[in-house]
């Protein structure tokens, strides 16, 4: 029905209702059309997202073991109690937290540094943007294999360069002490380019006259950075901080390809452990309890992030 005007207090329609029920019929028709358009997406989301999520929650309280025939018994909180007695799970949790704590300052620091450099230098900007951004587009597998060769203890280029400068060759991925830090470095190297672009957009939104005014007031470079750039970059920084946090929690491919969680479980992460227990060992119930515990934490962080972004918008 299309409104064409008002007569007194009544709305006048171009196609007035003739009978009772016409409105319902129109609404019914729109519903059919709308659900036809929604149908494929709803069906796929239901099958591969909603049902798996619900199943994960249910399996978390069972001892489901994937095999023919399937074994499944409700065990209550047993899985969760066992989790906190499982040394490999505790190790994977500690490793994941270690990764998060190391990668965040390194990656965000590098991204901000590169953005500040590129914001000043106008010449050759596009080249450096593309150069820093290209690792972001490359797959984690390609990057992991590539670094595997660069970091090779005997023939790798990095150790060749180190020994040239008189530093003894490092074991990198084969040492329990260095392996996680090496993965931190590779991950930061890959992810920094994307964040650099976001920081760059944030920097270019800061009006130039603010800096000019500050310069007239006698502020030096460092003061301008601390009192103007950093506060004005706050919304961008919050967004980058939380998305890096969420991404870091989900670390999986790099340790899987580069170290298989070793040496001595020093690079086993929580998501990799979910994959191993659930897929390789087929202990779906146990894996689901880890996934539920961990998924809840990541979900809550994501929720906080969405709230913060919304507030910045308002």
């Amino acid at each position: 029905m299309i409104k064409i005007g008002l007569k007194g207090n009544k709305t006048v329609y171009a196609f007035p209702r003739t009978k009772k029920g016409t409105k319902n019929k129109i609404q019914w028709k729109e519903n059919v059309v709308a659900y036809t358009f929604l149908g494929p997406a709803l069906l796929l989301l239901l099958l591969f997202l909603i049902i798996p999520a619900i199943m994960s929650v249910y399996y978390a309280f069972t001892d489901y073991y994937l095999l023919t025939p399937d074994i499944r018994k409700f065990v209550g909180l047993d899985n969760f109690i066992n989790l906190f007695k499982d040394p490999i799970f505790l190790k994977s949790l500690a490793n994941t937290l270690k990764f998060v704590v190391w990668v965040i300052p390194l990656q965000i620091g590098a991204a901000l540094g590169l953005a500040l450099l590129l914001n000043k230098q106008r010449k050759a900007n596009t080249f450096f943007k593309v150069a820093y951004f290209s690792p972001v587009v490359m797959s984690l597998v390609v990057i992991s294999v590539l670094w595997l060769y660069l970091l090779n203890p005997n023939e790798g280029i990095i150790n060749n360069v180190l020994t040239y400068f008189g530093i003894s060759a490092q074991p990198f991925l084969t040492s329990p002490k260095q392996a996680m830090f090496t993965i931190v470095f590779v991950s930061a190297w890959q992810g920094a380019g994307f964040q650099m672009l976001i920081f760059l957009a944030g920097l270019q939104n800061i009006p130039g006259d603010v800096y000019e005014a500050a310069q007239l007031d006698g502020m030096n470079k460092w003061q301008r950075f601390v009192y103007i750039t950093l506060p004005l970059l706050k919304p961008t920084s919050i967004f980058i901080f939380i998305t890096t946090l969420i991404g870091a929690f989900k670390l999986l491919v790099q340790p899987m390809v580069m170290t298989q969680g070793g040496p001595v479980n020093s690079t086993m992460t929580v998501v990799y452990y979910i994959y191993q227990t659930g897929f390789t060992d087929r202990m779906v119930g146990y894996a689901s309890s880890i996934a539920l515990l961990f998924g809840t934490i990541i979900g809550l962080v994501t929720l906080v992030q969405r709230k913060l972004v919304k507030e910045e918008d308002d």
Partner: protein, 238 residues
């Protein structure tokens, strides 16, 4: 490795592609690339159509249950996909899809974020245009194909490209659902090639290069649209 010469390319251009020739003859690389292209194109085209249709319904159609479904959609954005991998696999297992190409494609098609992105782009299209198309006798399907999609090129390019890149780069999921080597995408093949003795560094590097070239090409072509799509205001990401 002891002289700078080791890092420089040969003076004979005919030497440049020896590694590529060797690796192509040793492995069914072409097959893996065709697999990856097939999965990527199916996922990209499917994502645009399926998520676009849903986005259109949320943006421009009135239906019962819209608010509830939209709330659900926003809630789905929070579910970390990595933690439901195992249950997704049991679903695919129960559907009897393990080791089929469909198992690689289907779960990657619908995405809450892509629906949300399309919906935001479609919201910006004025109602007058749709009304006049309706008066000219266009049905909802025609409006979607002839007006909504062409008017939202940045959204189509963003979703299509990101879906292709995501599918091309995906490793865990195809590794889980496929056992038949002839269906492997290039990413899964890379780790297999890297562990097939004897491993020649030059051949592995050739494979890595081959698998990266399509991404660089796509990125160069679609870069402007992607930045517009991701960085533009009103899309929900910043």
């Amino acid at each position: 490795m002891n002289s700078i010469k080791a890092f420089l390319p040969s003076f004979h251009p005919s030497d440049w592609f020896i590694s590529y020739k060797q690796v192509l003859s040793r492995f069914h690389l072409l097959g893996y690339i065709i697999n990856s292209l097939f999965y990527g194109l199916c996922v990209a085209a499917g994502s645009v159509i399926i998520n676009g249709m849903a986005g259109y319904a949320f943006a421009k159609l009135n239906f019962n249950g819209k608010r509830v479904l939209f709330g659900l959609l926003l809630a789905l954005l929070i579910v970390p996909l990595e933690t439901i991998l195992i249950s997704q696999f049991t679903i695919v297992h129960k559907l009897g899809l393990v080791d089929t190409r469909l198992a690689v494609i289907l779960p990657a098609l619908a995405g809450a974020f892509n629906i949300y992105l399309f919906r935001n782009f479609f919201m910006a299209i004025p109602a007058e245009i749709i009304e006049s198309a309706k008066l000219d006798g266009a049905n909802t399907w025609q409006i979607f194909l002839r007006i909504m999609l062409p008017m939202s090129k940045p959204a189509v390019a963003t979703v299509g490209t990101l879906a292709f890149i995501g599918s091309w780069n995906d490793y865990i999921w195809p590794l889980m659902v496929l056992t038949d080597k002839s269906k492997f995408p290039i990413q899964v093949a890379i780790t297999a090639i890297n562990s097939t003795e004897p491993v020649y560094t030059n051949q592995v590097m050739a494979v890595l290069t081959i698998s990266t070239i399509p991404l660089i090409l796509i990125y160069i072509v679609a870069q402007r649209y992607i930045l517009e799509g991701i960085g533009g205001s009103g899309t929900g990401i910043k």
